[in-house]
Symmetry: C2
Subunit: 203 residues, 2 copies
DNA sequence: TTCCGATATGAGAATATTCTCACATTGTAT
DNA sequence: ATACAATGTGAGAATATTCTCATATCGGAA
């Protein structure tokens, strides 16, 4: 956690430091990143840095947490309009929030993606959908089951995990090309959908 | 590429150095890894290191390539016995070779997994299935299509990509627990399978 | 204005890392 | 036995990085 002194700084300076860190951490991994560079970009003296943060890890976690909070907020959003598409579509829509963030702040997304697989990282904790959020997604699927849109024997958790993995991988593969992301994701969803929806036999 | 001198070394020494590097690179990322540590573990003097390798990157690529060659060989293997299960099962079997390697050499797999998402890494090149290998997998699926086991409108490439992504993610999640890997993977495959196999209407 | 705690500042300490180089040793062909 | 190329060796150069600390500056209360 940043020191009190940091929070007392005026916004302009705070943001200058934050953004200098974002720039560095989006180019390099934690161990490659250089405080020297951050301090230079932010145009603050060395001593000041340690007035604001305890160490390198401190500013790193600060950056990560700030970004993850933004993503969390974006993922809360529900499907627009008052249509209610099937569970899979709704879930995929939630996940596409990262695509949105990537358009406005590609550096943020780069940082998250770079650290998503680091077992010791703060990112991982955030990546494991929070309990309430997870429960919300599950109930969307259970509703569809009730409506007879999804086979009763399907393991909801598995489906959610699958979609989640695919979205993450696809995103880190397609990078800034959100068109490619959506196109491929839809192909994947179509395959999954036809696998989970009730088979209409003897029509 | 290691220098000639390295290849001329007697096997015992070569392996000692290789394994010292494996130990270090399986614990740390490339930039975190310390030559100091490798040299110490391998019990060779500093000067010798530079007689064998050009620099840190050189020994890293050597380790990565050696491991990836092992994996490539494992992935070539066909399904045992003379049964011929459906395309999905055959493909999943090929992919499970990593599970096998993880039982015998968990450090190797750790290195691969740690670097699989590094855009500049040699691993990535290997991870993109080689052309022939990819073609072989496609034809397994096309065969099933001909047999009427897979719907004609299914995009084979998408299915392959999906399974590939899921296997990789699942593997890095379950780590050394190959039982968990297989259990989850089968759930995923079952969902995909029911999506791609011909729907039998009006039976 | 005077005083004092909070903050700013940058030189450099402490440490770590990669890599070089001058010299020693070894092995092999003559 | 001698010569000579190939290889071994480790001290330390060159560099980079994080972090400290003594001192300077600021800004508001008395």
């Amino acid at each position: 956690m940043p020191r009190e002194t940091f929070y007392k700084l005026k916004d302009e300076k705070k943001q200058r430091i934050f953004y200098a860190a974002v720039q560095e951490f989006s180019k390099c991994s934690f161990s490659e990143a250089s405080l020297n560079q951050i301090v230079k970009t932010a145009k603050i003296p060395w001593g000041s840095f340690y007035q604001y943060f305890e160490n390198k890890e401190d500013i790193f976690s600060y950056v990560i947490e700030t970004i993850m909070k933004k993503i969390e907020i974006l993922e809360q959003q529900k499907f627009p309009e008052n249509v209610e598409p099937d569970a899979l579509t709704q879930f995929a829509y939630k996940l596409s929030s990262t695509v949105e963030l990537n358009n406005s702040n590609p550096e943020y997304v780069r940082i998250v993606m770079m650290n998503a697989n680091d077992s010791s990282s703060v990112v991982k904790r955030y990546f494991e959908l929070s309990k309430e959020h997870k429960q919300a997604v599950i109930s969307i699927f259970e509703k569809d089951k009730h409506l007879g849109l999804i086979r009763k024997d399907i393991d909801t958790a598995s489906v959610i995990e699958m979609v989640y993995i695919l979205s993450k991988a696809l995103f880190s593969e397609t990078g800034s090309d959100s068109g490619a992301y959506l196109e491929k994701m839809n192909k994947f969803l179509s395959i999954i959908r036809n696998g989970i929806k009730t088979e209409v036999l003897y029509e």
